[in-house]
Amino acid sequence: MSKTIRLGSRPPYPITVVKLFKKPGDVIKSQEPLMQYSFKWTKEVGDNIRKETWNEEQTTYVSWNSPADGDLKQWLIKEGEVIPRDGPCMVIKEACSHEIQFQGLCAICGKDMTEVNWAAETRDTDRAPISMVHDQTNLTVSTVQAQRTENELQRRLLESRKLSLVVDLDQTIIHACIDPTVGEWQKDPDNPNHDSVKDVKSFQLDDGGPRGAARGCWYYIKMRPGLERFLRRISELYELHVYTMGTRAYAQSVAHIVDPDQKLFGNRVISRDENGNMFSKSLQRLFPVSTNMVVIIDDRADVWPRNRPNLIKVSPYDFFKGIGDINSSFLPRRRDLLPSAAADGAAVNGNGVPPKVNKAAVTEKPSALDELASIAGADDPAITQRQVEEQERTLEKQIKDRPLQLLQEQLDKEEEEAEKATTKSEDGSDTPPSSPPHHRHQVLRDGDTELQYLEQHLTRLHKAYYDEYDRKRASHRASSNVDLSSVPDVGRMLEGLKSKALRGTKVVLTGIVPMGVEIAHVDVGQQLVGFGAGIVTKIGHDVSHLVVNSLRPRTKKVQQAARIPSIRIVNQDWLAACFSQWRIVEEGPYLFDVHPDDRPAEGDATISDADETDDAVKDSDKPPSTPVRGGQILRIKAPAPRLKLVSASGETKELDDEDSDDEDDDDGDMEDVEDEDVLPDDINDGQLSPIDGLKTFNWGQVDDELQEFLASGSDDDDDDDDGDEDADTMDTDADETSPSSRKRKFEGGESEDAGDGTDAETAQDENTALSNGIGTRDGASVAKKLRRTKSLRGTSSLRNQYVSDVDGDADGDSSLLTPQVTGDEEEVSLIKGGLTPSLVEAEASATEADLDATDLEAEFEAELMAEFEAAAGGEANGNDGEKG
């Protein structure tokens, strides 16, 4: 192989070639003089003391030495030539290009690469910088060799129509723990967990394993359900590699359990000992040139910072509850955990203590390590040492604490109590031998189905990949059956496949991403985006799903969303299911049971309080014009908060909030940032928040009004001891006395005509107004309502604030939200549902109208007139209903 040699940066240019010692064809050895050159320089000569100095030009002759061995093929310079700068000077045929090196030795010629060659400017060891072998780090290859090897690999894969699949071990295809309890359960057929653990494999590590108490301990390996079948089928489509953060010995042992005859993984196992980086995994470690044909399955996305596109994230397999990943101290702290609702339930039951202790041990300390790692390089031996110690501590803790046993004992205890409550005959059920096993529940359950879906995805991906490859190859008209140039990038295909999964959904998360964390930086967010879902931060009508953390079930967003029937409120398991199945999973089983106080229809609680969301969904599915009978009742739920307010402060003041709203509008609203955080900019729906922009509110005036009102002797049945400011203000708002608001009403109504129309609100307001106004008053109320709707076309920010604030305090002062709802409104709504179809229709058309914005205002007025008439018709009944 010929190589062009440059002069290098050392000669003091410009130089003049004086003599060439060698001629083409000669054998040259490194550090041997090949040519002589001269250069000129000036030197101060003379008597320095007497200041009789002058500069004299000197010429120096230097020989230029060969930086490499080989045969000289051609000189690119001539004798006498002046060379102004560094450039190529000769072509040689190198004896050896040292492309494969083993521990400082060239594996081709056997030369010691660490020998310092003073004539060369680069070290020979730099020629082979890439380590790409699974089980060794001291074998390095050059870029050219790496390319060659990889082409070879791709050719082979294309011939057998396979792809590469890099498989993580811990919590992806297996779950490991060292809790000795597992061994005891295995031996004890009476134990309720016996069935679960009887196929758990175990092995002992004595070399290089952890020291101390964990030394020589048994590792218990539970394979993910269906693993054998999965691997067998997938290995027909993929060449499998193991990539784990466990030690080499651990990886080998697990690989041996999973794949006893080495048919699946062969020797393609890489562990943290060979990884070269303690904190992250990199495909480039194995496939330095091209990752076009490599797919990863791992339960952690954050350890693959460079290879996200190729990654299929698997939901972590958590069989031994509370154990986590026993090798996790070698990974960055886990941030992507999406706690499952079931697990949360267990934690709430009181079983949560051991896992928490364990988790804390695993997660808290590495955070310091993270920082260290970011400061120092990842290969720092001190960090490695600390990590190892960390792992040892964790493991020892596991052996000592026996978290599984604790869990089981707790479960037993609970059950015993439960049993005592029901039957007195059974006693002592927490002592394993004496108790009959049938009624003891097991801690360990094995209902994981992830691998089924994973297999589907991988098969689909494989098919898509080779379809694409065949298509490309056909267009290239390649002669051979292997065409490396038309290899598609599997990462891109994977992204394409994934992005279709949740396309069309708009998801809002609540209680899942910690405060102050950008959702796009969190794993959940990245996954959502990867699956093509839209992430919205605020509840709006275009939102399709609200994902609620079932540990924090009562957030603002839940309350907001509960008012919009088209939003499906689901728990985080739905998200997990979608991620694992790559489709929009049927929401049914995941629908979130909204806390009764957060529901918009507290007043209707007697009618349907079992599954609010279900109803909401049902309702949204129906076209709004149809549900005159049953659905109508449900529809009225949406504006119910308004009802509350109204009933709280007396019938006559139902318009108060709008009035204060007007006032706000005059003041200029939407000033506070918090507001915009929580709510969509364009509230074009029934976000009934009457206390938006309270910060700009004239409190003195309100107080006066309140005094006035209280003095007027109205029955105020609001709760008031919630101790929350916002809630109080809302209260105040609600209690705002009518006189002044009435005063303001007119100005408000007139001034807001020009407001940019948000007709949804108008529609909702109509609902409200209809449901209460009609019953209580006559046509005058409808007229007021007309004004109100007009006023509402301006941004009724006050209402928005109401919602958001209420949500924030939901836990503390929910009572506030449920002022004693009388049966009146309910009945009213019923009556209305039964008797005033025209009204409903008006409503329906109003709802439709919100799709088109301001230009439909005129239509609105017409509709309102229709309502007016309808109301006049239903008035008598309404009055009756109320009195009754």
């Binding site: 494969i100 083993f102 521990q103 400082g104 030795l105 060239c106 594996a107 081709i108 010629c109 056997g110 030369k111 010691d112 660490t114 072998v133 699974h134 089980d135 060794q136 001291n138 074998l139 290859v141 060799q145 090897t149 070879e152 690999l153 082979r156 057998s160 005859d261 080495q262 048919k263 062969g266 020797n267």
Partner: protein, 171 residues
């Protein structure tokens, strides 16, 4: 190549061992310390005999006794060009690793006969000429050393099976 080599080493002994069988203790300690180590460019395989244990000297400060022991040992020094028998332990596309006693060797695919090719589809992956030569982990191979490098306590070599009578050993 194996040699009988006369060597010398200083052995220290803790005062608690001072007594009649001190010389035995010194010998035992020597064997424990030295056997199986790599001393520069050779391995000390076995100590034949200890023929000269000097009288002990108390080291000032620590109280340990220091003995200078002359001994004769079997040492193995691999040479460039030497042919050794080794056992392959890891195979990858670039070549295979083998172990000749304590010495780790790497034989690159460039230093194999042309007909021996890497076969990744075999389980486990192997180098084979599709006839009698199959090199996979555990195979005994005869290798010619073409390069050597030593560091303190460690030695590595590059081997070749490109030559007559090199390669797989038909056991």
């Amino acid at each position: 190549m194996f040699f009988l080599h006369n060597l010398e080493r200083r052995v220290t002994l803790h005062p608690s061992y001072f007594g009649r069988n001190m010389h035995d203790l010194v010998t035992t300690k020597l064997v424990k310390d030295v056997e199986g180590t790599c001393a520069g460019d050779y391995y000390i395989i076995a100590i034949m005999d200890t023929f000269d244990v000097s009288e002990g000297r108390i080291l000032p400060g620590s109280g340990l006794a220091e003995f200078t022991v002359g001994y004769r040992a079997v040492v193995w020094r691999p040479f460039k060009g030497e042919v050794v028998d080794a056992i392959a332990y890891s195979v990858n596309p670039h070549g295979f690793f083998a172990q000749a006693g304590p010495l780790r060797l790497f034989v690159s695919s460039h230093l194999m006969p042309d007909e021996i090719q890497y076969d990744a589809n075999a389980t486990p992956p192997q180098f084979t000429n599709n006839a009698d030569m199959v090199i996979e982990p555990g195979t005994h191979v005869r290798v010619k050393i073409i390069g050597l490098r030593t560091e303190v306590g460690e030695m590595w070599a590059i081997g070749s099976i490109n030559g007559d009578f090199l390669g797989c050993l038909q056991a």
